[in-house]
Symmetry: C2
Subunit: 217 residues, 2 copies
Amino acid sequence: MSELTLYTYFRSSSAYRVRIALALKGLTFEPRYIHLLHGGGENWRPDYLALNPQGLVPTLLHGQRILIQSLAILEYLEEAWPDPPLLPADARDRAYVRSLAGIIACDIQPLNNLRVLDYLKQTLDMDKAQTEAWYRHWIAEGLAAVETLLNRHAQAGRCCFADMPTIADICLVPQFYNAIRYKCDLAPYPTAEKIYENCSALTAFKTAAPENQGDKE
Amino acid sequence: MSELTLYTYFRSSSAYRVRIALALKGLTFEPRYIHLLHGGGENWRPDYLALNPQGLVPTLLHGQRILIQSLAILEYLEEAWPDPPLLPADARDRAYVRSLAGIIACDIQPLNNLRVLDYLKQTLDMDKAQTEAWYRHWIAEGLAAVETLLNRHAQAGRCCFADMPTIADICLVPQFYNAIRYKCDLAPYPTAEKIYENCSALTAFKTAAPENQGDKE
């Protein structure tokens, strides 16, 4: 039995990030499926809230240690299992990679997750067209900045940083996957799109993809 | 002249975070004031967008290196100037501290920043009461999770982690400061509030506070 247990939902892009990192590190885990829609959201059950008080996925258990917040989990995996690295060696390059991850993990995804879309629909009475426009707006804002940085720094290769999969790609791929699912116009982001395609073809990214999870629908 | 230049706005909680970290590390910087409201927002000027394609503050220049995204900047400062540390030594404790920072920096602040409030008002035609309810809702959601974690882990002392100011406090204090400004009910978060008060009284946090900036109004 694995010492790692991941509470995951196939469509959660934050859980998808952690699945990619685990796969890149060659770590196996016991999945526990938390369906965010069934029964009003399994993530709101008391036994799950006892692990994760935000009621968000993912949660990673490492032995008795409970880990939440995907960026914090990625940094933890990097520190606990340094090989292969998910960050470059140089502090300035690490900052660059983390800034790309931050644009996505702070300024795109949290605006578009289920709890926010529910608030728009239920509390603010927004219709489908308005919530979809909201969703696409923040993706467009964030991906435009990512694309500009990728081209400006000219450090991209097959991945955001040279040919090395880092936490930038780990955040980019699930976000791009969602953008495609929501039929966003991706033509303005050719560099990001090429990186998405390159990374998605790697075994670790495939293993972690929503369609390859035990709870996919 | 300092080798560090910080593009900052006194009221930006992300800039406030970086100002605290710089002060804790004992680093001096040249401030460049970017007013987010004057002239339609100085952050949208081409010369600022050339530094920060998101048009957000802060941006930190270290020599020729341009650093954006406050969490990435905090990690950079920690790597480039390790003393005094802003993260505990143990990987599991670091993950805990980073998860508290993540709740605030990913799941509260980005939902409540100026660009989002503008979208609610201008694109979705929300009135003042609705935008204020939105603002308070996400603060309440996030701070409730922070409070639960602080009490559950029982690692808090004068700060979120024992008596050591970390990136968790660096994120908590500006968020709490804003919550007070927006007249949020803070009674449900007594542990967080005590930490806010303890940290706010420290010299580094005072130096970094909005009311002590050159661009305060």
